[in-house]
Amino acid sequence: MAVEISARGEVLTAVLIGEIDHHSAFYIRKEIDSAIELNMPSLLILDFERVTFMDSSGIGLVMGRYKTIAKRCGEVHVVGAKPQIYKVMKLSGLERLVRLEKCS
């Protein structure tokens, strides 16, 4: 599992790569949180296009980042979710909190 983070202005983009489970979420969370701390973004884009597997740990990951960003009145967008990942996200009702875009 890896995460590539880039910041441009108020937009922070995190490209997640590999499998997200309870084991790997710990590392991803740390990486993204320190980037949020540093860049204070108003928009966090979580790019799931290169995620090959995700269980409900991924939901915890998105919800946790949403809480941090929402405190600063910012937004979270989830993009590139493949069918399996989208299915887990839909089950959680995550789309009520963040903008959810399926993989095109």
Partner: protein
């Protein structure tokens, strides 16, 4: 001829084993010629069950997780058992969004298992452990039928 196969294994409750167990179980399920979606469903459900053992059953310790799988006709059964703390109130534990963990868990483990598998049975005794039995019927496709 009856299509029957089984395997069992034991792993330590280390988080690195989450991906190991779901990979092994899904590889075993390939014998049923599942669709990509069915395989993802199985992987996701197994990942949730194993994570529960690690996060809840053996919260501050390392214990053994016992996995046994069986294929019978077109049904995959996966039993995941621990000898951990057990669940006091199974009904409550299975409610979506309920969690006793403060570690950013969504409380969706059982909800995922329920919706991605055909059936789930949970047995638990406080101080003794928990057994989760998951079942999924894999649809017979043409290639699969022909082989038998």
């Amino acid at each position: 001829m009856e299509n029957k196969n089984s395997f069992s294994m034991t792993v330590l409750s280390k988080s690195v084993n989450e991906s190991f167990v779901r990979s092994v179980v899904s590889a075993f399920a390939l014998g049923l010629d599942p669709t990509v979606e069915e395989i993802s469903d199985i992987k996701t459900a197994v990942s949730e069950a194993v994570t529960n053992c690690i996060v809840h059953a053996y919260k501050d310790t390392i214990g053994k997780i016992y996995i046994s799988c069986e294929i019978k006709d077109n049904v995959l059964s996966v039993k995941i058992r621990d000898r951990g703390v057990g669940i006091e109130n199974i009904e409550q534990a299975m409610e979506p969004l309920f969690t006793t963990s403060d570690d950013e868990r969504a409380g969706l483990g059982f909800a995922v298992m329920e919706s991605f598998m055909d059936s789930i049975k949970v047995r638990s005794a406080v101080g003794k452990g928990t057994t989760v039995l998951l079942k999924k019927h894999i649809s017979v496709r043409y290639a699969n039928k022909k082989q038998r």
